[in-house]
Symmetry: C2
Subunit: 453 residues, 2 copies
């Protein structure tokens, strides 16, 4: 893994920003607006049927922030953009030496969060904090969406393994890569994606394609060939022509093979029949893998109906979060400072209000350890009895905290879900987890609602 060239340190990723971020950077530079500003990323509202979100992509975003530089090729391009062409040389010199020098606080990777709670908070000279917006949002919006979906699918699978199979339907191969990371954080046992296995050490698994079967003279021959090559890892795909016929061929083949996979048809009926065929042949240890447009709703129905599935391969719906394919994360200025004076700021656009000021989130639990509610408070307010969620990861542009391994993060997600009461974990129409505003924050909102300049 040492020579894995992270996409996020490729200097060309400095251009993965919106034009207006560079325009504003130039404006702040020109007016010497280098005062400290605080921007917060939070989610505006819950996507449909979500009762919780698994914050994910924090580490990816932090790598980007600490590695962001503008190289000559990027600057040459920027100078060719009509809007920017007249900016003075001084700005380009500034950009060439740009690096992030501020502080980043964030919830730990994998933390369960709710709307309006700050997930990542940047305090830095105004231009440095501003320019991060689009990239950080794209990273955390997407990985949070997939980690959340994965946690739902894993919950529906009731202890059976879920493998992420979605590369081919992801929004680009790169999205497939990041989706595999997020799906693992959300609780998947593995991925079919080798790049994610390589970069992140996620366990990889895979079976065979229909084309493998079709490329042989017969289904039997295809099965035998695979079994000879990968005896202890063989998963036979039995639905290329007729699933039950495929199961009988697999049964006649005998062990060693680990599992059969069914990818089409009426899975509820077929799985029962396939189980019977395997059992009748003495193959009680052979597992049944289901795949084919699965999601948390279908898996829940299958298992409620007692279908004897052992493992689920979930692709499209997982990596696109098909029923809720966009997140509402935004990144907003909440405060700036001139000299010793702090200016909390708040947007009041209808339906898009923001919460002003530098904040902390506290999570409260009852005597049984289960969570009862959260409180969003101002950073310097004293709130007792709750656990603060935001930690400092970057200080003066440098890492000051370690990130846990991805496996530890996965465990952290699982542990939190056990402490989240069931009504908030329901797959459909979950209860709304209570998030309160502290007295200090409430007062500040009231004050700015009238008096924003």
């Amino acid at each position: 893994m040492s020579d894995w060239k992270s996409p996020w340190v490729d200097p060309h990723w400095c251009l993965a920003v919106d034009l207006y971020e560079i325009s504003m950077l130039a404006g702040y530079w020109e007016a010497q607006m280098f005062f400290p500003a605080t921007f917060e990323m939070s989610f505006r509202y819950m996507p449909p049927h979500r009762g919780f979100l698994v914050a994910c992509g924090i580490e990816t975003a932090l790598h980007y922030i600490t590695n962001l530089r503008f190289d000559d090729a990027a600057i040459a391009y920027l100078r060719s953009v009509p809007n920017l062409a007249r900016l003075p040389q001084g700005f380009w010199d500034y950009l060439r030496h740009f690096q992030f020098t501020g502080r980043v606080r964030a919830v730990p990777e994998g933390t369960l969060v709710f709307p309006h709670e700050p997930v990542l908070v940047v305090t830095a000279p105004l231009p440095e904090a501003q320019v991060l917006e689009s990239f950080v949002l794209a990273v955390i919006n997407f990985q949070t969406m997939v980690a959340t979906k994965a946690a739902r699918v894993v919950q529906a699978a009731r202890g059976r393994g879920v493998v992420e199979f979605g590369l081919r339907r992801a929004h680009s191969p790169e999205a497939g890569f990041w989706a595999a990371r997020a799906a693992y954080v959300g609780g998947c046992v593995g991925t079919s994606n080798l790049q994610a296995g390589f970069a992140f050490g996620i366990p990889v698994s895979g079976t065979m394609a229909h084309s493998w079967v079709l490329a042989h003279a017969s289904e039997e021959e295809a099965f035998r060939h695979f079994q000879r090559l990968f005896p202890e890892h063989t998963v036979l795909l039995i639905d290329t022509f007729d699933t039950l016929e495929g199961a009988r061929k697999a049964a006649r083949l005998g062990v060693p093979f680990r599992a059969v996979r069914v990818d089409s048809g009426d899975l509820a009926v077929l799985t029962q029949e396939v189980r019977r065929i395997l059992d009748a042949a003495g193959l009680q240890d052979v597992r049944i893998v289901l795949s084919g447009d699965l999601n948390e709703y279908i898996i829940d129905e299958l298992l409620t109906a007692g279908v004897p599935a052992d493992l689920f391969g979930v692709g499209t719906d997982l990596v696109t979060s098909r029923d809720a394919p966009a997140m509402t994360g935004n990144y907003k200025l909440v405060e700036w400072q001139s000299g010793q004076t702090r200016h909390p700021r708040m947007k009041t656009s209808p339906g898009k209000q923001t919460l002003p000021g530098r904040k902390q989130v506290y999570r409260f639990a009852g005597p049984d350890g289960r969570w009862t509610h959260d409180t969003i408070a101002l950073e310097d307010e004293s709130i007792e009895g709750g656990m603060p969620l935001l930690r400092t990861y970057i200080e003066k542009g440098a890492w000051v905290a370690e990130m846990p391994s991805l496996t530890d993060t996965q465990r952290y997600v699982r542990d939190q879900l056990e402490r989240l009461p069931e009504p908030y974990r329901r797959l459909r129409d979950p209860a709304v987890y209570p998030v309160h505003l502290s007295p200090g924050l409430t007062e500040l909102v009231e004050r700015l609602r009238g008096g924003n300049p």
Copy 2:
């Protein structure tokens, strides 16, 4: 652009495959199954409300295919994967020298296509054709989805410009990059994404963020500061606090500024009011840009209601294709050859049947030049009067045809849409474009339906 390091030639992208592809590669190698095989990518069915698809990502996929190599780091990783650990040295030597030596036919980038029609067809030694599956699908599924969505949004905008604004809500920053490319192919006039501007020469545009306004002592000062810096490019975001108040401030400011942007609230009402305020101040030439969770349906309603919008910034819904966020593209073995004998193959899984054999698609037009129907035929069948869609781009692993510029591709899409009759272009419940199977193909399907081995 010369030093733009395309993501698709990064050697680590060789691992952006599913484990089963490497397993099958090993199996084909072990059994010396190097005979020519043909795989076809096509779409299984139309996503909801789509009457046509804009095939996109063909060029990206072709770059990947011709550049795919497995480097030492990738092979070292693959050898550590438990399923693959026992494969002999000969296989790893084969992989180290792997390169694509076959033929690729495809429809030209931007071609309008319909379900079941081959979009990209690979004929190559079996392992070479097989291993491309996941990456090629991820590329073409996603770019086709976004180009299609863009064509719909552009159509709804009735000649007004649509700019792609979606980076922050794309499924990863990389997805945002590819989305910008596809959106331009589909007809957008530009993007806010600088990386896409840099890599593809797409015109970039941008305004200011709410944080720009909030970072200044007052809205007026924020407006004046931006105007001073970018006089001829200034687009003022007027909805940070109160849109009509913002419009009045902009109007008092006077020219030069190009436009105002409204990003929230009741756009139908606000746009009318803002237009009145600007006109009353003699600012008839100042344009109004609308943004904020727009899509083809909303834009169509706004314009039907006579809202005087001049330009639309469309983000989330465009880059995620929110109402239909996954495509059904698949990549299936349709034929293999042993000696002089061709073996057409067909999968008969319920709901997932494929069309066997090597094929060509013919498009037929009436006397007015408008399209009437398509016919999918076997490659060696003689079909008269239709225009064949598939061309050869790669022969013996090398490019044999030039790709047009992205701007030419955009024009090609527009020209085709003019030839597609209106019922197939409707935004909701479009008519189903007729796609026929030729007599030869029909006969082959009938034969294999009974007799697949």
